[in-house]
């Protein structure tokens, strides 16, 4: 749009600043209150800074839930899902991109049903399935339903199609088998897509709550989000804000840090996840 440096432009700059500050305020105040001593409440004195800075809230928040286990579970689940997803979406993505077989379109449609009916609304039946498979209250229950990703398959299919088929033919003439073709032709040329998919997948699994709260009971196999839920109940129904915010930041920090490193990538990946 025609961009003249005039009065409107200054107003727009100010507006941008105000909205951004409003948006960042919850995080900003969460950090401030998390390092503020509980003896120095927000309602008394300076609203921004307490008289001193303390880590006591973090210590207490750490004691109120078994965070080491929660972190371990979340990391294992994130990795356990991602690794298997990468394998399944590469295989299926290649088949749908480059192979001709009977029923291809119908099978692709069957796959798309996963995008149409989000797992969220099927939690109760999937809970029964997990009990029948004897996986209730295990980390497997947090991973297995996500091992297949229709979104990932579509993404890989699209990416693989853009790779010139001549490269594959050349590799075949050199005697490469399918595994080698994937490893030396398709996968190396699709690294940006894999990174994009990984960011979306990591963020989705790290953030999972409802399914995890339903399918696990034992603290050791529960992810960080359930720890936050427990902390909320434990901090006097969430009124000990210093501790609650310390715990919240412990849960959100890995993603915020990851985001700071991969800012552009993240935004692009999320855009493609919406486009599925």
């Amino acid at each position: 749009m025609v961009n003249k440096r005039n009065g409107w432009s200054i107003i727009a700059d100010i507006l941008t600043m105000i909205v951004s500050l409003l948006w960042v305020a919850p995080l900003f105040f969460a950090v401030l209150i998390s390092v503020r001593p509980s003896s120095d409440p927000l309602s008394v004195g300076n609203i921004f800074f307490g008289r001193s800075i303390t880590l006591e809230n973090y210590q207490q928040a750490l004691e109120l839930a078994p965070w080491a286990w929660h972190y371990l579970t979340s990391v294992l689940v994130v990795l356990g899902v991602l690794v298997v997803q990468i394998i399944t979406i590469t295989m299926a993505g290649y088949a749908f991109a480059r192979m001709k077989f009977f029923g291809r379109n119908i099978l692709l449609f069957v796959l798309l049903i996963q995008l149409m009916i989000p797992s969220g609304v099927l939690v109760v039946q999937n809970l029964t399935t997990m009990r029948q498979l004897d996986l209730f209250d295990t980390r497997w229950a947090l991973m297995i339903p996500y091992w297949a990703s229709a979104f990932g398959v579509l993404l890989m299919r699209q990416t693989f199609r853009e790779i010139p088929p001549e490269l594959e033919e050349a590799a075949r003439i050199d005697g490469a088998n399918l595994g080698q073709i994937l490893r030396f032709v398709y996968i190396p040329l699709s690294i940006p897509t894999y990174i994009a998919f990984s960011l979306v997948s990591i963020s989705a699994r790290w953030n999972e709550f409802l399914w995890a709260a339903m399918v696990t009971r034992t603290a050791e196999v529960r992810p960080v989000t359930t720890g936050l839920s427990q902390l909320f109940s434990a901090t006097e129904a969430g009124t000990n804000y210093g501790q609650l915010m310390a715990g919240t930041l412990l849960v959100v920090a890995p993603l915020v840090v990851l985001f700071i490193f991969f800012q552009r990538r993240f935004i692009e990946s999320f855009a493609s996840s919406g486009l599925k």
């Binding site: 700059d13 609203i47 229709a150 936050l228 849960v251």
Partner: protein, 328 residues
């Protein structure tokens, strides 16, 4: 014509291969997609069918025999009775799902308001961010980071802002001499408080689609319009908005679909209380499913959600069917 040719070619290749390595080439694609399809079958298709089926049954009572062992009575087929119990108001209210209509209403209000406010807002934000503005990376971080947070984590930050006595908003209001509100315990306020959290969380997400859309509009259209003397707002409403129609429609669908399944924030924002005024369908399911007698209802409510979501998906397909999805 070209298709016939390539089909002939394919058959030809298939035949020559069959001579060398029978079967393998035909089975391979199925082997490659099998893991994905089996998992989709097990965790999407099978549960959908079971949900539909069980929504037509009333669960049998679970009793104990003389030795104290649990005996499960068989389920009774009741047709659409479970749905009738959900949608037809009874007096006194149904003991398990008496508040369903209230909850459905909340969910619809939540979805309509969240989407109705977030989309114009994110369009505005995209216009602001689509300018040469100093510190853009920082502003972009501010607007986009909520998208990444776990919903329960983002909501937990707001639980602090909304707190009645120690919450930030009320502290600020008190210091300014403005009457405070109990944001999460006032029946007429609580749903709006929850809506604000979701607007905050999603605006940055939809903004990036509008940004992409804005950047795809050729600059010379605006130059031509400016030469014709069109003002900024004339350009905005006669060029930008119409050209982004498809983006808006697309966002309308994904935002609505998303809104119907977002409930995790409720865990730290008063759990649907007071009086179910902020309760929403998926959270409602989560609340009533432990009761064995609720099983039929839980499945019926899930089906209601499936139908709502499928409706949006079909709108999506009808409007946005992409032609690159087939052949090559």
């Amino acid at each position: 014509m070209a298709q016939t040719q390539s089909a002939v070619q394919v058959t030809h290749i298939a035949q020559t291969h069959r001579l060398k390595r029978p079967q393998w080439r035909h089975i391979l694609p199925y082997l490659l997609i099998a893991p994905t399809l089996i998992l989709v079958g097990l965790f999407t298709i099978y549960p959908t069918i079971r949900t539909l089926e069980q929504s037509l049954y009333e669960p049998g009572a679970s009793t104990r025999d003389e030795r104290g062992r649990r005996v499960q009575e068989p389920d009774t087929f009741v047709g659409f009775q479970n749905y009738a119990d959900l949608f037809i108001t009874q007096d006194p209210p149904h003991p398990i799902v008496g508040s369903f209509l209230q909850v459905l209403g909340n969910t619809i209000v939540f979805a309509v308001v969240t989407v109705g406010v977030t989309l114009p807002l994110s369009f505005g934000l995209a216009l602001l961010m689509n300018r040469a503005v100093r510190g853009r990376a920082l502003w972009r971080f501010s607007l986009f980071y909520p998208v990444l947070l776990p919903l329960i984590g983002g909501a937990s930050m707001w639980a602090f802002l909304y707190g009645n006595t120690g919450g930030l908003i009320n502290i600020v209001l008190r210091s300014l001499g403005i009457p405070t509100q109990d944001w999460l315990n006032t029946p007429d306020l609580v749903l709006w408080s929850v809506i604000v959290v979701n607007i905050w969380k999603q605006a940055g997400f939809y903004m990036i689609f509008y940004l992409a859309g804005l950047q795809a509009i050729p600059k010379d259209i605006y130059e031509a319009a400016a030469l014709d003397g069109a003002s900024y707002f004339q350009q905005l409403f006669s060029i930008t908005v119409p050209l982004l129609r498809r983006t808006t429609l697309f966002l309308l669908v994904i935002a609505s679909t998303y809104a119907f399944q977002t409930v995790e924030q409720l865990d730290v924002l008063n759990r649907g209380m007071p009086a179910n005024r902020s309760n929403m369908l998926l959270w409602y399911i989560y609340q009533i499913y432990p009761s064995a007698q609720a099983r039929g209802y839980v499945n019926a409510i899930s089906m209601v959600l499936v139908v709502i979501l499928l409706t949006f998906t079909f709108i999506n397909f009808a409007f946005f069917e992409r032609k690159d999805d087939d052949g090559q």
